[in-house]
Amino acid sequence: MAYVSAIPALFAFLYIANISLGPYEVFMMNLIGVYIIATVSLSLTNGYAGQFSLGHAGFMSIGGYIATILSFPVARKALLLSDLPPFLLHLELPFLASLLIGGAVAALVAAGVGLPVLRLRGHYLAVATLGMMVVVGALATNLIQFTRGPLGINGIPPYADSYWIYTWVIVTIFVMQRIVETKYGRSLKAIREDELAAASFGINVTRMKLFSFVVGAFFAGIAGGLFAHLITAIVPWTYSFVLTFDIVTMLIVGGMASISGSVIGAASLTILKQALKPVEEGLRIYGIVQLVIAVILIITMIKRPDGLLGHRELSLDMVMSLIRRHRSRGQLPISSP
């Protein structure tokens, strides 16, 4: 827990960044934070438990819409969302409460989807979570009364500043670390390596899988809520399959079961995506960004299937040994010809 001492430094950095950087750079920094929360929370299910979920954007959508509806100012609700049922129409919750409720509903949905699916072996979860995402998308498009359908909700209060987002980054990483480093994390890894062996050691396999899935969904819901209050306008396809795919790629590039790897993957791919976007718009050839991300994903899978860090965490020792290895490469021991 040496990281605790780094928290004041992080907030000092955020403060300096917020007063010295331009709005675009601050936005980028915040976006990276949201992606870190999403990626780290996905690593619990997909990396540690080895159950492949493709529904992260669906959970983010649930969290995003619910947090938005709850935190939306009453005065603007009367204009934009006048068809809401009365108890929601006259309700304006604080940001934190809205986020937490959004996350809790996402977790509840995860429990409902996960229970029938996670009893089974195989990759049913991938298909079922995709299906869940399709259903969530259909609800967001068709429940016009709550979501304004394809028109989307705009003018969402921009509550999600750097301090909110990075506080949640810290909370997410802390919770994940507490899970991963204790018996829960060891159980999940055991399930990933061999379900049968894990069960015979007395691990309740279904319950542990469900636990990882529900916790991941909760933080995905939080990330979705923060995302909505960061970009301040959402439509149903804000949380599309492309978002899930991007987060999965961030996770895999960084390292499937590595918290620091997830952070690195989220940050580097967010920057890459934002850097490529002007190219796409300048050339008016849409699809370049996704094409590049798909290539990165496929090459990573073939060359380094465990991602940059794999199942390890980034540590000072690792960096040092890398530097040492790099140095010694220059002066290889002389071998006889």
Partner: protein, 300 residues
């Protein structure tokens, strides 16, 4: 709107059309799932490639229907072949999940490759006017393409079932899908059979793209994804590992989708994809190994 007998019959025909498409896709996905435990998401993109190749061959190259159709089938098969050689083969022996992720990446790659090289706008697919002729049977209006899709769906499915029972390579495909290690022990060249199954499935998927375009009159680069996923739902419902099961599942999903859209009040129309996944959840709860599937036993 009152629900008349004619209306129900039309919905059943539509259900059979969509069901044929799912069944044809499920054939290829099912054998590949059996062999590699891979949900081949890229299978859906082959449908899209097939549709675009046919359209380009007809409009831009001015070829006649049979040649364009051959080009479609070849292009479909080629996508399957390249996928296997460039990506899937390199992942043998790695965790199953890396194949799943790679096929997802392959799907996104192919979709966006078409977006970048051709267009990201939907394109009208009005190339063979003869297939759009309407005719009337006892007050029910049917398009020629409906009959073509249903007949080709049934014919290809039946041919595939017979092939997997009679032909030597067909038996090898079935054996490899059931148990890849046992198949290789009795002398099946597993690598070649995997290529064969992928190419065969992709050729069928390319053809599916052609019929989909004719039926719905419009294609776009993103059309394949949900088709591939629904075909996999059909496999789960029909029975993983069973070739007749995949066909049956395809028709069940197609009929359930169209009948629920047609018979429920129109407000539920937006949930047609949701209904398919609702069926998936029910199927996983009630009979996770599918209608014609065999319960998988766990061996240590």
């Amino acid at each position: 709107m009152s629900i008349t007998a004619e209306y129900v019959v039309i919905q059943v025909i539509n259900g059979l059309v969509i069901g044929s498409v799912y069944a044809l896709l499920a054939l290829g996905m099912n054998t590949v799932y059996g062999m590699l435990k891979l949900i081949n998401f890229a299978h859906g993109s082959v449908v899209m490639v097939g549709a675009y190749v046919f359209l380009l061959a007809m409009l831009n190259l001015g070829s006649v229907t049979p040649i364009a159709l051959v080009a479609t089938l070849v292009a479909g098969g080629l996508v399957g072949y390249v996928l296997e050689l460039a990506a899937y083969r390199r992942l043998r022996g790695k965790p199953e999940v890396s194949l799943l992720i790679t096929s997802l990446g392959a799907y996104i790659f192919i979709e966006n490759f078409v977006r970048v090289t051709l267009t990201s706008q939907p394109r009208p697919f009005l190339v063979i006017p003869e297939l759009n002729i309407l005719f009337d049977v006892y007050g029910i209006t049917i398009r020629v393409v409906d009959i073509v899709v249903i007949l080709s769906g049934i014919a290809i499915s039946a041919a595939f079932v017979i092939y997997s029972k009679r032909a030597k390579s067909g038996i090898a495909i079935k054996a490899t899908a059931e148990n890849i290690r046992a198949a290789s022990l009795v002398g099946v060249n597993v690598d070649r059979i995997i290529v064969l199954a992928l190419v065969l499935g992709s050729v069928i998927a390319g053809f599916t793209g052609f019929v989909w375009g004719v039926k719905f009159g419009q294609i776009d680069p993103g059309m394949g994804f949900i088709l591939g996923v629904k075909a996999f739902v059909a496999i789960v419902v029909g029975g993983i590992g069973s070739i007749p099961g995949a066909v049956l599942g395809g028709y069940i999903i197609g009929l359930a989708e169209m009948l629920s859209v047609g018979l429920l009040p129109p407000v539920y129309g937006g949930y047609r994809d949701g209904i398919v996944f609702f069926i998936l959840i029910i199927a996983l709860l009630v009979r996770p190994y599918g209608i014609l599937g065999v319960k998988e036993s766990v061996r240590v």
